[in-house]
Symmetry: C2
Subunit: 118 residues, 2 copies
């Protein structure tokens, strides 16, 4: 099974973290018929952490985990912090394929989403 782990920054404001969790709940509905499991994790300030989130995917039966950065820009978090935390779990579980998808802000399709909001 493939798990998708949506990784957000995490906020002291729990309502923002819950907004991410609601998005994941919607994605889970879309992804379930495709035999995919979708979960949330947070870089900091909220739970689960990235390593704990990856572990939850593995415990649920994932053989492949795709980490999906819910970030708009390619800053240090996307370039270094997320890969660092993913590497720790990859070393612990060499039998699981853990990859990192392009971050949200890199998607050209965001342009159309933005114009649709106006």
């Amino acid at each position: 099974m493939q798990s998708i782990l949506l990784v957000a920054h995490g906020s002291r404001r729990e309502a923002s973290n819950n907004e991410v969790r609601r998005r994941v709940a919607r994605l889970q509905t879309t992804a379930a018929p495709l035999q995919r499991d979708v979960r949330a994790a947070f870089l900091e300030r909220a739970s689960p952490s990235i390593p704990d989130g990856i572990q939850q995917c593995i415990d649920a039966g994932a053989t492949e985990v795709t980490v999906l950065p819910y970030f708009l820009s390619a800053g240090r978090h996307v370039a270094a912090d997320i890969p660092h935390q993913v590497r720790i779990k990859q070393d612990e579980h060499p039998d699981i394929k853990i990859s990192i998808a392009p971050y949200l802000g890199s998607a050209a399709a965001i342009d159309d989403v933005l114009l649709s909001l106006v």
Copy 2:
């Protein structure tokens, strides 16, 4: 003319601000045939500020400015800081219609963009 002002948080990391400016340049190409002008502004740490960005729109001939928050969650920035700065310019220019569009993260279409990245 309608101007769209894409408002991002702003980063100390200039590459992140330039990523926003590149998105705006692409949106400008899409929007120009629709007689729309698209510009960038930043809540903090980068230029132009929101008031300066709105002023640039007006100076370019906008009669209507739509502020589009480039934010993923409905935190204090979206709920209070952006409206506060917009209100200052609206009071200065009662003849210009300045509105705030829903923030990016509120768009359900983001779900599809996320799944397309996996």
